[in-house]
């Protein structure tokens, strides 16, 4: 159906009279000029409806439009370089990319949107509908009506209807505008709200209708905002959970206070950087670099943890305070070592495409993909940790050694080895947290320092030795923090959470989920 429409347009274009083609060439020349000329030219090309304009405009938006010193425009594509005006193959020697600014980008978005509304490709039509929605112009109304009539994909239909409503809102005729208001009232987004407010400022006569629409709109937005806050809290909580999980093993299970824990997280993040650098340039491997970094980070941090435990910490068992001080020194050394090896600057970590942008959940809630993945990842890591402790032989030995070291030893368990493995396991989890944090925070030698105190608070709050406690503790702290933030600001919210935690721990020193029985010692 759409394909048919596209063909019709193509045929129409081919049969256009000569002066229309001149209009295309006329407008095209403007793209080689200054920013103001470029913006005007883009608008004219979009309004002209000439299908030859689309590849040119796309090339300009992507930085693939080149300009020779004599102002001839060339398009660079995978297939080679062609002349923008004629489509003939050309030589790119001496040509430089045409630069644009935001104003041109805005004009381009609108123009490309108009032209691509009839594209046979569904994704392009969806993007075009979105673009037209944002540019909104009364001139687009007939175009959108035609496109909407032929559109079959429901998602794109919705988007087009929205774009149509937005365009109607700026029309000259009040009846058309009212249609737009009604449609936008049901959209339930802040963007729609902005458009309505703008229309009210522009046409005060529509005030009552718009206000009524706003009331229903605001109700939807308020619900959405509450859900958004919850999501943000869960996301912050999942970060805390990841950072604290390793500590829940080394501190919670073994009772070792490891102030270098944050540095293991940092090592994991740097392992991600190294894996990504190694994968760079190998096309089939590149998308997998982040998943590959997970085991790498686990191994690197785990190995560092095993070395730390065997080399230093085991000599200090039974002296937790000395361990604390010693590991602080280790943390300083690790930080400076990484700073010297990788430089003090932030390292770039590429996010794979599936971790960028937003995802629309059912109900129209938009969530950021990278944080969604971090939430999923944190739960997976938690699940694996519990599974490892519950169901593996290593977990069994680990529990045995924690509960009664001497009896475990008499049963033939090599307690020293179990200690080393447990500590390596906890450190490895910290390393995996580093992979996730590399997606939302700076990868710098200081990465770990920001998380260490929060992690300790989470573990103590949840109840030392209880993984379920760590989960509940982390998520509830995240949510409380985000609930307070709009009222108190980011800093005071955090201070309030810290003070609340201190008071809580004073009342319930064993945390939310106190361990019971002999092991609780």
């Amino acid at each position: 159906m759409t394909r048919a429409l596209f063909l019709i347009v193509l045929l129409l274009a081919a049969s256009l009279p000569a002066h229309a083609q001149d209009a295309f060439l006329d407008a095209l020349a403007g793209l080689a000029g200054g920013f103001t000329q470029q913006a005007e030219a883009a608008e004219r090309l979009g309004a002209g409806g000439d299908p030859r304009a689309l590849p040119v405009l796309r090339a300009l938006a992507d930085g693939r439009l080149l300009k020779r010193p004599d102002n001839t425009l060339l398009i660079r594509a995978d297939a080679g370089v062609t002349e923008a005006a004629t489509g003939a193959a050309a030589d790119a020697a001496g040509a430089e990319p045409v630069r644009i600014n935001n104003r041109v980008r805005v004009a381009l978005r609108g123009a490309i949107g108009r032209l691509a509304l009839v594209s046979p490709d569904a994704a392009e039509r969806a993007a075009a509908a979105e673009a037209v929605y944002r540019t909104r112009s009364a001139e687009n109304i007939p175009l959108l009506e035609a496109a909407l009539a032929r559109e079959s994909v429901p998602r794109i239909r919705d988007q087009m209807a929205l774009a149509l409503a937005a365009s109607r809102l700026v029309a000259a005729d009040a009846t058309v505008q009212r249609q737009g208001i009604a449609a936008l009232a049901g959209a339930g987004t802040e963007g729609a709200r902005a458009l309505l407010l703008e229309a009210r400022n522009a046409t005060p006569a529509l005030g009552p209708e718009i206000d009524a629409a706003l009331v229903s709109l605001d109700r939807v937005i308020a619900v959405k905002r509450a859900a958004e806050t919850l999501y943000q809290g869960l996301s912050l909580g999942s970060v805390l959970l990841l950072a604290a999980l390793g500590l829940a093993v080394t501190f919670g299970v073994m009772g070792v206070i490891n102030m270098a824990h944050g540095e293991f997280v940092m090592l994991g993040a740097y392992a991600t950087v190294v894996v990504q650098d190694a994968c760079r340039g190998i096309p089939w491997l590149e998308p997998w670099s982040l998943p590959l970094a997970v085991p790498a980070a686990f191994l690197v941090a785990g190995l560092a943890g095993a070395m730390l435990e065997r080399g230093l910490i085991r000599h200090l068992y039974g002296r937790p305070l000395e361990t604390l001080l010693m590991t602080f020194g280790v943390g300083m050394i690790l930080q400076q070592a990484v700073r010297l090896a990788f430089g003090a600057q932030n390292r770039e970590v590429i996010s794979p495409a599936w971790m960028m942008g937003t995802l629309e959940l059912p109900g129209g809630l938009m969530v950021t993909q990278n944080r969604l993945w971090v939430i999923v990842f944190s739960l997976v890591v938690l699940g694996l940790t519990i599974a490892a402790i519950r169901f593996t032989r290593f977990g069994l030995e680990m529990r045995a050694v924690t509960q009664n070291r001497r009896i475990a030893a008499t049963m033939g368990i090599r307690t020293g080895r179990v200690d080393a493995l447990t500590f390596a396991f906890g450190s490895g989890i910290a390393g995996m947290a580093g992979v996730a944090l590399s997606q939302i925070d700076n990868v710098s030698p200081n990465l770990g320092t920001g998380y260490i105190i929060d992690s300790f608070m989470v573990v103590v709050f949840g109840g030392v030795g209880s993984l379920a406690g760590t989960l509940v503790g982390a998520l509830s702290l995240g949510v409380v923090n985000k609930l307070l933030e709009p009222y108190a600001g980011a800093v005071l919210a955090k201070v309030a959470v810290l003070v609340g935690l201190m008071l809580f721990i004073q009342r319930k020193p064993r945390g939310l989920f106190p361990q019971k029985g002999r092991a609780a010692g």
């Binding site: 600014n101 935001n102 943000q232 938009m366 939302i440 710098s444 709009p486």
Partner: protein, 415 residues
């Protein structure tokens, strides 16, 4: 090369490290005259190391450069590097050490305002000379300091002017986001005064502060979206400090805030910061500086080549504070040559009116207010982490370190 304050132990240390750090074998011959000493007071560890190590390297590069040209006044130039470790009282201690123990002739250093404020009394008391290379909030002018970074009128105000102009999208609502310290607070106060004078009321200004190294921007970015949904073109003015920018931009990109809809202009984001992130989602967001690496000028080509050769990394970027360091160093060297002395008072007098053809492509002049006249450039972020310059002032702009938009400056004591 670094001149150790305690020569023997450094040598022992070097031996321990093997030949990796060995001194260059060939050096221009200098007479018996004592070397001229340049202090370097930049944090090499702690939170600020991320920004300041590059400035340490820039000074060392300039020292090598000037020695390669026969030194100054026929004497060798030596750098004395110390690490104040992002610890503000330690800055004061190290400043005193440089001036009294190492007896340096000049010092290049500091990044944050608090570190400058910490060392300022020391430099004034001991009559030292400090070159401060970072854009800052103004409201200061010490006879012991030459400020080679921008004052607010050389960065913030032109940037907002651009946003409100046709090319910048004619913004009518401004969200001022910053890290909670004195530079953003003062800059935003000046901007608020400026915006009010342009008819933008307080209802159309949002101001929000976050702590250093803030990494969870979800809430603030969605509040900005809400703020923007009031039916007027909105722009963000960011005075967010270095480290917090990466997660901030990531959140902007992920929440789908495009430069076409809500452009964000930043005063503390340069090439170094962008090197740490994937810049593709940020294309079109802006920064205002007095220098961009992408400036086309012979002096800049030379700067970039020298730097990349010095640091042995063809991908390392240059940025505005590095350029300000370079300009300060060249100016100081010219002033020393002109005064034919390294004595602080003579050099200070010779500094006024000193001119340098800077990598930014303009000839910069040091004024008697101890600030440089600088051009202002607005750059749009490109996918490769560089900036495309979309606007620049035709001439340099004289610094107003005492802003007319801070009413209290009217009753300021003239010093």
């Amino acid at each position: 090369m670094t001149k150790p304050l305690v020569p023997f132990s450094r040598r022992a240390l070097m031996a321990g490290l093997g030949g990796a750090l060995a001194m260059p074998a060939i050096r221009p011959a200098f007479g018996q005259a004592a070397p001229i000493k340049v202090g370097v007071l930049h944090s090499l560890s702690g939170t600020m190391a991320i920004s300041e190590t590059a400035l340490r390297d820039t000074v060392l590069m300039m020292v090598e450069w000037i020695n390669g040209r026969g030194g100054l006044l026929g004497r060798r130039v030596e750098a004395a590097v110390v690490d104040p470790a992002s610890n503000w009282p330690l800055f004061a201690e190290k400043a005193r050490e440089l001036l009294q123990v190492a007896k340096v002739d000049v010092t290049f250093g500091c990044w944050t305002s608090v570190s400058r404020k910490s060392v300022l009394p020391v430099f004034e008391e001991l009559n030292g000379l400090l070159f401060y290379p970072v854009q800052y909030e103004g409201e200061e002018q010490s006879r012991s300091i030459f400020y080679t970074g921008a004052a607010p009128n050389q960065q913030a105000i032109p940037a907002v002017e651009y946003l409100m102009g046709k090319d910048g999208g004619e913004a009518k609502r401004i969200a001022l986001l910053g890290t909670d310290y004195v530079y953003p607070r003062t800059t935003n106060r000046i901007l608020r005064g400026y915006l009010n004078s342009k008819g933008i009321t307080d209802a159309d200004i949002m101001e929000e502060y976050t702590p250093f190294g803030h990494s969870d921007w979800q809430g603030i970015v969605s509040r900005v979206k809400t703020f923007a949904a009031q039916g007027k073109k909105t722009a963000i003015v960011s005075t967010i400090n270095g480290d917090a920018n990466v997660p901030f931009y990531r959140e902007l990109g992920n929440q789908g805030i495009k430069a076409e809809d809500i452009p964000c202009v930043a005063f503390s984001v340069g090439e170094e910061e962008l090197a740490g992130i994937d810049a593709r989602p940020l294309v079109g967001h802006l920064a205002a500086w007095n220098y961009f690496m992408s400036v086309q000028a012979p002096a800049n080509t030379e700067f970039k080549n020298t730097w990349q050769a010095y640091i042995k990394n063809p991908r390392r970027v240059t940025n505005d504070p590095m350029e300000a360091t370079l300009v300060g160093f060249k100016m100081w060297a010219q002033a020393v040559a002109q005064a034919n002395s390294t004595a602080v008072d003579a050099v200070r007098e010779a500094m006024y009116g000193q001119k340098v053809d800077a990598p930014c492509g303009y000839s910069l002049e040091m004024h008697r207010n101890h600030h440089l006249a600088k051009p202002v450039m607005i750059g749009e972020i490109q996918a490769d982490g560089q900036f495309s310059i979309v606007s620049r002032t035709p001439t340099t702009i004289v610094a107003e370190n005492w802003s007319p938009f801070i009413p209290e400056n009217a009753n300021r004591r003239r010093g």
